[in-house]
Amino acid sequence: MKMEEMPLSSPDNTKLEALMHDIYSELVEDACLGLCFEVHRAVKQGYFFLGEPDQESMKEFEIVDQPGVDIFGQVFNQWKNKECECPNCNRLIAASRFAPHLEKCLGMGRNSSRIASRRLARNNMSKSESDQEDNDDLNDNDWSYGAEKKAKKRRSDKNQNSPRRSKSLKPKNGEIGSSINSESHKYNHNTGISYESLGPEEVRSLLTMRCGVISEHTKKMCTRSQRCPQHTDEQRRAVRVFLLGPSAPALHSAELESHSFDIPDGQMSRLQWVESPNVSPSDSASSKASTNHPDSRRPKKKKTLSLNSGGGSGGLTEGSGSSAQSSLSLSSRKKKPKLSAAFISSIYDDLN
């Protein structure tokens, strides 16, 4: 092939052409030398032949072309007809069914309801109504805000069956398994407690230990601790009045605490309460004047409860004034059970 050349009009051009070729040759030679050095170094360092397959591996990984065998030489369904002995139940299980069988057998798979069947079995044998508190502890883990309750409903159902749940119970009490049974029969899996199914003693014991506020949505009692941030002390008080009657005895923890609060102090404490920065999430978001100050206010709350019950409601409500009203009304709007409406209306009556 002929190269395209400019017309040789002057000797300069030939010189230029020659020069051009010189430069070109130089460049090509440079490239060749570069390659030689590269190869030589690779040879001396030992990585020159690394990119290529060696004879040994070629033979080892050759494609297998026999009938009944795949290209790697493996037999399809080799273990299909083998049987394995289950370490748990000592039965002979087909190999392909072994894994699902173990799941059910050990009760540890995602879909195994072994705990459920175990529970049912135990329940048939014995029934016990004790240890509700322990159950409530469990419920504590699962309880969630009302808004998320529906979303988490299924999850709490699932958690009931998980082995972790039952394992955590075992060190607590030997009867946990049975008490779960009883609880599951009495109470819903939604980890709330329906007050209708409880006897008076149970109600009392529950209320001394737990928050107990009855949710509007589900009519279930809150099983969180006395200081649960989702309910105000007002709500707790209202529930106790509702469930135990207006002459409800003061709760145990109140008696243990200091008794230095008089009626005027009770009012003052109410006011202080109101100004506390703690906001219960169950109240409206804007309201900072919530009457929810769990720890130190408890004794005062109990005192005021007894005051209220003792007929000192007039003085109490005067002291509380508008702020209590507003917080009460706010909370009544949001999550208070219907029963407390009667309570509030009694306050208004007293005020008027």
Binding site: I23, A31, V43
Partner: protein, 95 residues
């Protein structure tokens, strides 16, 4: 003759100064790898190595064997393109 020598020297100098030489080198390497020339030459090197023995092959062995073959095996398209670029440079810079 002196003129030629001087011209050559000047051009070389200009090539280096402007960085054109480096650019041309890189261009050539890329083109040669692209068109498979490099792999061809590596195969040739393997032959030489097998001939001389892996332990005792020297740079000289390779150079002596490879360079003439390398020069010959450069494809025409690559050669043309390079010559074009050099010519363009020369016409630009040769007074």
């Amino acid at each position: 003759m002196n003129k030629e020598a001087r011209l050559k020297a000047t051009i070389n100098q200009k090539l280096t100064e402007t960085g054109e030489r480096e650019r041309l080198k890189e261009l050539l390497r890329a083109k040669l790898t692209e068109c498979g020339w490099k792999d061809q030459m590596k195969a040739q090197c393997k032959e030489v190595i097998k001939e001389k023995g892996l332990e005792h092959v020297t740079v000289e062995d390779l150079v002596v064997e490879i360079t003439p073959k390398g020069r010959a095996l450069v494809p025409d398209s690559v050669k043309k393109e390079l010559l074009q670029r050099i010519r363009a440079f020369l016409t630009q810079h040769a007074s």
